[in-house]
């Protein structure tokens, strides 16, 4: 199968030839022609102003009764009972989806000794918490947690299941999707219910250069992982009532072939990259490791996280855990402040989802300025201390 060209509509403008990532399109005899290397990525469809390109249609396979699946679920992530903020964000978007469908919103909580966490989830919007407690389910274990969740899904049949696109969520939810034989869309930034009642899942693709909307029409549940910091966290309501429903998993489900030998939680002074509202990143313009002080000062002041570019990590000025970009982390904070960062594409793909991007660079021609909201052409060693001073002054410190 490959993309289809409507020869009547095609004007041989060549736009699709430019955009095709696998060189599958050529203009032959004044019309676009697609060869067998087409991967059906769909980029050409969007590029064509004349609507001359379509993707082949797939026959809907016979499926079991989709109507028997009801309700929206979110998988609550926690570390020793402390719920990860992304789970509350999931309850926010989950509430919207559940209300549109007129169904219940439930949170899934797996581990041990989690009564307090269950109440938290209700306060943030869960109508019901499916609580699975077992000593063998802590610490988190990909295999046992995915088996428990699989059992729950098979018994209770939710129509939608959302998880956080965190290291944990992205590690165990794909296994659940395969086990229950349904589709999973990773790293969604937008979720909505269409007029057809389906979950419209929007996510960045090709390093964030395009957005794709994805459906899972013939399988249930429809599953997505959602990026932290993208959805709005609802307001906590202490008075909110909900039901905590214990679930007893099978003995087989709580066992795992993977043993967690050791868990090391590394404390750090500044916030963690994926969860911070503000990320202050230093690039090669910092010149040496010691100079990161100016970055850290600002990050601390704004309760933000410290990011680093690949070249900074390669130089050994910062640990790999700080790396933002293609081979590092993808972040989407409220404010991303890039200091002494040139703006190489491999860095940009890791941060262009940020709400506000500011760059400080001496070179007015630096490519980073192409993607900013606010550009500061200045020596960062002069600007950052002045900016820190300004913030303190305005706060009255």
């Amino acid at each position: 199968m490959k993309a289809r060209i409507d020869k009547e509509k095609c004007i041989a403008c060549g736009e699709c030839v430019e955009v095709c990532p696998v060189e599958a399109i050529d203009i032959v005899d004044e019309v676009a022609q697609v060869d067998n290397s087409c991967t059906l990525c769909g980029l050409c469809v969007e590029s064509c102003e004349y609507e001359a390109i379509t993707m082949p249609e797939v026959d809907a396979p016979e499926t079991e009764d989709l109507e028997s699946y009801r309700g929206v679920w979110i998988v609550a992530e926690h570390l020793n009972g402390e719920v990860h903020s992304v789970s509350y964000e999931l309850l926010g978007v989950g509430r919207t989806l559940a209300d549109k469908l007129g169904v219940e919103l439930a949170a899934i909580l797996i581990g041990d000794q989690l009564q307090d966490a269950a109440q938290q989830l209700i306060g943030y919007g869960a109508d019901r918490v499916h609580l699975v407690e077992h000593p063998a389910l802590t610490p988190f274990n990909d295999e046992s947690h995915s088996k428990v969740l699989t059992e729950l899904i098979r018994q209770k049949k939710p129509e939608i299941l959302l998880g956080g696109a965190t290291a944990m969520g992205r590690s165990f939810i794909p296994r659940v999707a395969v086990a229950v034989e349904t589709g999973l869309t990773a790293d969604c930034t937008g979720l909505d219910i269409g007029e057809d009642g389906l979950l419209y899942q929007t996510r960045p693709a090709f390093g964030g250069n395009v957005m794709a909307t994805i459906l899972c029409p013939n399988r249930r549940p429809q599953m997505s992982t959602v990026r932290p910091m993208v959805m709005k966290k609802p307001v906590f309501d202490e008075q909110r009532q909900g039901e905590v429903e214990p679930f007893t998993p099978s003995q087989e489900a709580v066992t795992s072939r993977v043993t967690v030998v050791d868990t090391v939680i590394q404390e750090q002074e500044t916030a963690r990259l994926a969860e911070a509202d503000v990320v202050v990143t230093g690039g090669r313009g910092l010149q040496k490791a010691e100079n990161f002080d100016v970055i850290e000062d600002l990050a601390l002041l704004l309760d933000g996280a410290v990011g680093a570019t690949r070249s900074v990590v390669d130089e050994g000025w910062k640990a790999y855990s700080h790396q933002v970009g293609q081979t590092g982390k993808t972040v989407s904070p409220k404010l991303y402040l890039a200091c002494g960062v040139s703006g190489a594409i491999q860095h940009v793909v890791g941060m262009q989802g940020s709400e506000i991007i500011v760059a400080v660079n001496k070179d007015p021609e630096a490519p980073i300025f192409d993607i900013v909201n606010y550009g500061v052409v200045a020596d960062l060693f002069e600007f950052l201390p002045a900016f820190v001073k300004k913030i303190k002054e305005k706060r009255g410190e």
Binding site: T39, D142, A167, A179, M211, T213, V358
Partner: protein, 263 residues
């Protein structure tokens, strides 16, 4: 020990840029590269082979030209390669991809360990490794930064988490995805390069893997892309000029108006 490494050929991001006027994808020339994360998977496999012996097979699913990606890894000393290529594979989502790879791993038996990169840079889903483990019904872990064998049949993995790191252990056969901290990939050797050019690489299609056309590619996928569009453009850019003091004042006010917390 037989290790299978799954790799993917992806468009080179260096050739992709965003047109600041239209905020759309602009590609200048189309080069394909080995997914950068997959080099660490190859390196992880070669490190294990250096230490414990055995052989490494690299595998990819893709169009016929993906053979080039396999040859690049052969030049590092990988023992053999398999190309999974079939018209029917096109348009596969992570379900169909991981099913196809799982069948190929089964055909390569005995296999002790499958290693994947943490994710591919075009799709960025990170779902194929765990999906593959599920199809194979094998234990797995993700984000590995150090792999070692214990007692010959157990794999011990130090893995990155959002909070620090973790050490996990599992019996082989198993599946693991790895991160950059595995170590930089080695350089191609002359002898390996010569061999990489000549080595015959078998191509397996759906029929070779006992898969029906409706189980693979777009037909075998549960998810469907219904719309592809450009991300909304960033609001008008403002370049802050003047003395450092004025720039700091202006930026503070702009960010305060933008409701950045802490200001």
């Amino acid at each position: 020990m037989h290790i299978v490494v799954c790799i993917k050929q992806v468009p080179d991001a260096k050739n992709v840029r965003i047109d600041p006027e239209t905020n759309t994808l602009v590609r200048q020339g189309v080069d394909s590269i080995v997914n950068p994360h997959d080099w660490y998977a190859v390196e992880a496999a070669l490190l294990l082979r250096d230490e414990y012996g055995g052989q490494v097979t690299v595998m990819t699913m893709g169009p016929p030209q993906a053979e080039e990606a396999l040859r690049e890894t052969l030049a590092l000393g990988v023992d053999q390669a398999v190309l999974l290529s079939d018209r029917a594979f096109a348009g596969a989502d992570t379900w169909a991809t991981s099913l196809t790879l799982a069948r190929a791993v089964a055909k390569l038996e005995p296999v002790d360990l499958v290693i994947c990169g943490k994710q591919a840079i075009d799709g960025d889903t990170a779902q194929v490794g765990p999906g593959l483990a599920a199809h194979l019904d094998q234990p797995y872990t993700t984000y590995g930064r150090k792999l070692e064998l214990v007692d010959g049949s157990q794999l011990r993995v130090e893995r990155l988490t959002d909070f620090g790191y973790e050490v996990v252990q599992m019996a082989l056969p198993a599946v693991v995805t790895v991160v950059r901290e595995i170590g930089d990939p080695r350089m191609p050797g002359l002898k390996h390069k010569m061999r990489a050019k000549k080595l015959e690489i078998p191509t397996w299609g759906a029929a070779d893997l006992d898969l029906k056309p409706e189980e693979v590619g777009l037909q075998g996928s549960f998810t469907q892309v219904v719309k592809v569009f450009s991300p909304p453009p960033r609001s008008d850019r403002e370049m802050l000029t003047g003395e450092v003091e004025e720039q700091a004042e202006r930026l503070f006010n702009l960010l305060k108006d933008g409701k950045v917390p802490g200001l």
